[in-house]
Subunit: 135 residues, 3 copies
Amino acid sequence: MYKIDIETTKKQQIIDITDHISRVIDESKVKNGVCFVYSPHTTCGISLNEGADHDVKEDLINKLNDIIPVDDRKYRHIEGNSHSHIKTVVVGSSVTIFIENGKLLLGRWQSVYLCEFDGPRRRNVWVKILSEDKI
Amino acid sequence: MYKIDIETTKKQQIIDITDHISRVIDESKVKNGVCFVYSPHTTCGISLNEGADHDVKEDLINKLNDIIPVDDRKYRHIEGNSHSHIKTVVVGSSVTIFIENGKLLLGRWQSVYLCEFDGPRRRNVWVKILSEDKI
Amino acid sequence: MYKIDIETTKKQQIIDITDHISRVIDESKVKNGVCFVYSPHTTCGISLNEGADHDVKEDLINKLNDIIPVDDRKYRHIEGNSHSHIKTVVVGSSVTIFIENGKLLLGRWQSVYLCEFDGPRRRNVWVKILSEDKI
């Protein structure tokens, strides 16, 4: 298993971690297989979406805040970050990506997102690769 | 493949099934690999989030009900459980978790959630493990 | 890796692609394993839910439009399809399904959904299978 450390800098922030994952694939020397990218946190998710236009990330954060507001008098969880937990469930804690010819096989516009919903914090991303290569 | 039976007791309920999954890992004798936890239902999802404070589960159910209400005159599905189907799509039907040194490798606060959206019912959870161990 | 082409015909549309995935499993000759179904797009997701009653698909699209409207003056992404990106993050870009005895092991009511949120377009679905079979 590979571990990546990411320092987030805002309360809510989407960070493109594609390059980190690509470096792990290079290091692994796996030619063909499946890569799993996992967040071990309960207030920080992992997803896939557009990396080219930064506005997509902003629109995603803003709309999630419309749907799941930071403050809601009905929230019972005493730490005050219920919204962060709920957003993490909605976004998900992991993604599955294919490896072909030694490279991460993303669609043309896809990037790997770390979705911080309760920052700023030091976050960990865990990566495992299951290889299809015959040894 | 391993099968787990869970009896849910409420209409909507989040049940921590981490111990069930851990027992499957123990039984499998797999040292290192990837574990897939899957719901074969269309009104019951699987997710990962905080297990320590029960209020997180309550806040999640309440907020999902704000977003996707049980009743909506626009729902067309005649069985009356459209909200349960939609919540299942939003939460997801499976999670991927790593196995290291024979143990389920969750983050410190993570638990595996069975998310019942149309209970009470008898639910099945399917588990498969892909091993990295050399035999 | 297997590639499937799907032509969508509407702006927003849920298409049952279960038969396409089953044919890939047949072709693969894998008896037992795990199948990953992946969308390389950022405005088109993959999910699992009921295939029997078409109204479930309609209710899902309608409710997602209530939550994440097509138009919102706050959206900044200049292409005008922010809602499609956000829906894709919420629904997810891939599903994991088990293979047993050479067949896709879905629950009784489960189908594989391609979720078009910015059509009509030609879409690709990528499929990889990790086999448990001893050769």
